[in-house]
């Protein structure tokens, strides 16, 4: 019984470990991507990037997505311009 419990606890701890590991990894990945976007001057912050990356990972076509993003940016810009006005 104790062995079983140990096992289960191990498993749980492993799970916890893996979950925390994953979180760390995800953070790291996001950092890298953020850096790249910074270098490339994409103008996207971390949150936006997270969403976009997840969309791409899920199979969205990056070309189309890029188009959409750019469009939305310009829209935003025009909005801002209009608002400012």
């Amino acid at each position: 019984m104790s062995a079983n419990q140990n096992n289960s606890s191990n498993f749980k701890s492993q799970l916890k470990v893996s979950i925390s590991q994953e979180k760390e990894e995800a953070q790291e990945t996001l950092e890298i991507i953020h850096e790249m976007s910074q270098i490339l001057n994409c103008g996207l912050d971390r949150q936006q990037l997270a969403v976009l990356v997840s969309m791409i990972e899920n199979g969205v076509n990056p070309e189309a997505l890029a188009l959409v993003v750019n469009e939305m940016k310009t829209e935003l810009n025009t909005y801002k311009k209009i608002h400012k006005q």
């Binding site: 990894e25 790291e28 990945t29 890298i32 991507i33 850096e35 790249m36 976007s37 270098i39 490339l40 001057n41 994409c42 103008g43 996207l44 976009l52 990356v53 791409i56 990972e57 199979g59 076509n61 990056p62 070309e63 189309a64 997505l65 890029a66 188009l67 959409v68 993003v69 750019n70 469009e71 310009t74």
Partner: protein, 832 residues
């Protein structure tokens, strides 16, 4: 995006440090667990605003959603694989829409021609530019980043399936197989694929002429695809089998069934394949039927060699039965079980003939079997014919030898040649009477050889000595043996020879009993004439003679039953059947039947065990009788010789002799007692045997022969002949007691004989005499009384002087005869 593109892109960047940083980041990214790294990088490049223009996107969308003026789409940011000039991009709305809605990289504009080219590669199972092999899904797929309509994508994917099928088939055709059938299959499939290649060449031709479209290709590929699908089906069914051995027959069976497919194209396809594939099998069959050889490396043929090293070539019977065997799992579908057995038999016959009989000339009047013949009715007929022919040859070869051997066995092992057996027995009897350990084979063999001289022929007989158990004399272990060599070893194998030995043993035993009884008879003959003085001995000898006759009757009848009903009838049946047989198996069978028949009728099998025990007991009694009789006759001899002496030396030996005679008589009684007991036991056994025989129908005749006047039945029922000694003596020798009581009366030796007889006579008449005497005495008394009365009466009446009165009567005088009689009786009465 490829590495090259990336490099190109990065070289465009002004800031080198940035480029390095970017590189670094990309490296780090590659270590992460993102799946779509390339897409991500692509995306980032697209969304970057590194001073490059981003107007195109804007404009594109503007045109799309706001239907403004369409500006030239600028592709300069991307690095297309193809040169832009080549792709004829119309400023058509539809085109743009299409390019956008087509998934993938819109920049890569692909013409149909390219696709077709790639497709041609892919239907041969080769990856190409746009069509890659997806190992995860195990299919050929058009690459996802290529902008083609979904419809054409679908079409392409469908045609790519062709490529997948092709690849699978090719892996089969290129693998190495041991089995000939599978190799044949590979060859035939390759030939079918040649058609396919031809089609592809045609496609390429058309492509060069640029009249080929996807649709056309699709239509063209339909039929080949269908074929490929079928072939693949068949192959998948085959290749799931692990054992290659069974796959051969499985292959052929499956192909056979598919060749009867409803769809005519499929059936034609498979009949072609089947045709090719059965070539090895047909070759095997031909070799086997006409040559008896088996060259089967991969063990695909349904006849296989029974690989056991125990089978020696010179072993009897085993070679025929066990050298080859039919493996029923491997019989192909088209050959029925009967035919396969016939084929097996033919080859077996040839093999056997070649090995055992050294016979190599076979008539080869038959054409070889062709594939068309296979699976038709003519095939069975053909196989049947060949089989019959070879079997006929076999039988022709064997028959004369077989008949000779069989006759010889009958003559010797089944005691057919009577005079030989008789002489043999006479010569051997002294040897065989010794205890079993002292019987040596060479002595017996030499005697056997001398017996041969009585017959003029040279016979291959041998002496076999069985295992002696305790108290066995030579008789029990002696056995004749007939040497048999190839090829008849197959028919007369060990087991059968054992049964022959058993029958021989039994018959030999009976013969021995008969022989014993004839010896008894011989002994009897010396004592046929016995002087009348030895009544007991005479009666005893008579008794033993009776018994001997009884036993002889039994033995003779039983032996004749065995010879006639058991052996001869089975023999006749066997010989009749012999002429009808057509193959070796049948011959072996009827031979075994013959032997089992004999065993059955002679009570040698397990069913008749009890009867056999009874018989052996009877034989035992007969042997004991012989020894008893020997005793009796030696005693008789002694007696007779003694009494001769007695007549010369009388007085001196009187007392002694009387004692001796008493002793002798005791001994006599012992012998008679034992004889009577033996007779009783013997008769009991006989009765048991007869009871047993009554129960079975076919033994009724034997029962009748043995007891035709119901003698034994009568004995048991009414017990007429009580076997006690006293009664016997009483019946046969009524005066024995008398004689014993009066030994002292005899003073003279001479009178020993006579008074006995006299007294016998006297005794016999004495009773009558006494009766008569009494009567006469009474009669006399009466007559006396009468006389007295008459005298008194006379005295009463004689007072007158007249003496001569007429009234006086003289008493009746006796007649002469009466007088004589009276005198005699009176004199004899004095003796009492």
């Amino acid at each position: 995006m490829d590495e090259s593109e990336l490099q190109a892109e990065m070289t465009k960047m002004t800031n080198k440090s940035q480029a390095y940083r970017l590189q670094d980041c990309i490296n780090r990214l590659n270590k992460t667990r993102l799946k779509k790294k390339n897409e991500l990088i692509h995306f980032l490049f697209r969304t970057s605003q590194l001073g490059q223009n981003n107007s195109y996107t804007n404009q594109t969308l503007d045109t799309l959603f706001k239907s403004q003026e369409i500006s030239q789409i600028n592709y300069s940011q991307t690095i297309p694989k193809k040169i832009i000039e080549e792709s004829p991009i119309n400023n058509d709305l539809m085109n743009i829409i299409q390019q956008i809605t087509d998934k993938g990289n819109g920049t890569l504009s692909i013409s149909e021609k390219d696709l077709i080219k790639d497709l041609i590669f892919s239907i041969q199972g080769i990856e190409s530019q746009f069509i890659s092999y997806d190992p995860i899904n195990d299919q050929f797929q058009v690459k996802k980043d290529i902008a083609i309509s979904s419809a054409s994508r679908k079409l392409l994917n469908v045609m790519c399936e062709c490529g997948w099928l092709f690849k699978k088939i090719q892996t089969f055709t290129q693998s190495n197989y041991n089995s000939l059938v599978l190799q044949a299959l590979q060859n035939s499939i390759k030939e079918e694929l040649n058609e396919y290649y031809r089609l592809i060449a045609y496609f390429e031709n058309l492509l060069a002429e640029s009249t080929l479209t996807l649709r056309k290709m699709y239509m063209w590929l339909k039929q080949p695809m269908h074929h490929l699908v079928q072939i693949n089906l068949v192959l998948s069914q085959n290749l799931t089998n692990v054992q290659l051995g069974t796959t051969s027959s499985l292959v052929i069976s499956i192909l056979c069934r598919y060749s009867k497919h409803g769809c005519p194209q499929t059936s034609q396809l498979f009949s072609r394949i089947l045709h090719q594939t059965t070539i090895p099998i047909v070759r095997f069959i031909n070799q086997w039927i006409f040559d008896g050889s088996l060259n089967d490396q991969a063990q695909e043929f349904f006849i296989e060699r029974n690989d056991s090293n125990k089978i020696q070539i010179r072993d009897s019977g085993e070679l025929w039965k066990n050298e080859f065997k039919v493996n029923q799992d491997k019989i192909p579908y088209m050959i029925s079980l009967n035919d396969s057995y016939k084929i097996f038999d033919t080859g077996r016959v040839i093999n056997w003939l070649r090995k055992q009989c050294k016979f190599t000339q076979f008539n080869q009047n038959y054409d070889l079997i062709t594939i068309d013949l296979l699976g038709t009715e003519q095939f069975s007929l053909f196989v049947d014919q060949v089989n019959k022919e070879y079997n006929k040859q076999l039988i022709q070869l064997i028959k004369p030898n077989f008949k000779i051997t069989l006759n010889a066995i009958k003559r010797f092992l089944l005691l057919g040649q009577g005079e030989f057996i008789h002489t043999l027995m006479e010569l051997l009897q002294t040897e065989l009477n010794k205890p079993a350990q002292q019987c040596y084979r060479h002595t017996l063999l030499s005697i056997l050889e001398s017996a041969f001289k009585h017959i003029s022929q040279e016979v291959r007989l041998n002496v076999k000595l069985l295992e002696p158990s305790q108290n066995d004399t030579g008789w029990e272990i002696f056995c004749l043996d007939y040497t048999i060599d190839e090829p008849l070893n197959t028919i007369f194998n060990q087991k059968i020879m054992l049964s022959y030995y058993r029958i021989f043993n039994f018959l030999w035993r009976i013969k021995r009993v008969e022989f014993t009884l004839t010896q008894c008879w011989k002994m009897h003959q010396k004592f046929m004439v016995i002087p009348n003085q030895f009544q007991t001995i005479k009666k005893a000898i008579q008794l033993s003679y009776q018994m001997m006759n009884e036993m002889q009757h039994f033995i003779k009848n039983f032996y004749s039953y065995l010879m006639l009903e058991a052996i001869e009838s089975s023999w006749k049946k066997f010989i009749d059947e012999c002429d009808k047989i057509q193959d070796l198996d049948g011959l072996i069978k009827i031979h075994e039947l013959f032997i089992s028949d004999i065993l059955d009728r002679s009570f040698l099998n397990t069913k008749g065990e009890s009867t056999q025990k009874l018989l052996f007991k009877l034989f035992d009694y007969i042997f004991r009788f012989k020894s008893c009789q020997e005793l009796l006759l030696s005693y008789a001899k002694d007696q007779i010789s003694q009494t001769d002496n007695q007549q010369l030396q009388l007085k001196n030996l009187l007392n002694k002799q009387q004692n001796i005679s008493r002793q002798n008589q005791n001994k006599n009684q012992d012998i008679i007692k034992s004889l009577l007991e033996l007779r009783k036991q013997y008769r009991d056994q006989m009765f048991d045997l007869l009871e047993k025989l009554k129960k079975e129908d076919r033994l009724k005749f034997l029962h009748f022969k043995l007891d035709f006047n119901e003698y034994y039945l009568g004995i048991q029922e009414s017990k007429i002949f009580n076997q006690d000694l006293e009664r016997f003596i009483e019946k046969c020798l009524p005066k024995v007691n008398e004689v014993q009581i009066q030994p002292n009366r005899v003073p003279n030796s001479k009178q020993i004989v006579q008074p006995q007889q006299q007294q016998q006579r006297i005794f016999n008449t004495n009773i009558d005499i006494q009766n008569d005497l009494r009567q006469f005495k009474e009669g006399l008394k009466q007559s006396d009384e009468q006389r007295r009365q008459q005298l008194q009466f006379k005295n009463q009446f004689t007072k007158s002087p007249l003496e001569k009165s007429p009234l006086i009567q003289i008493p009746p005088t006796m007649t002469e005869h009466e007088k004589r009689k009276n005198d005699e009786y009176l004199s004899s009465s004095d003796d009492d």
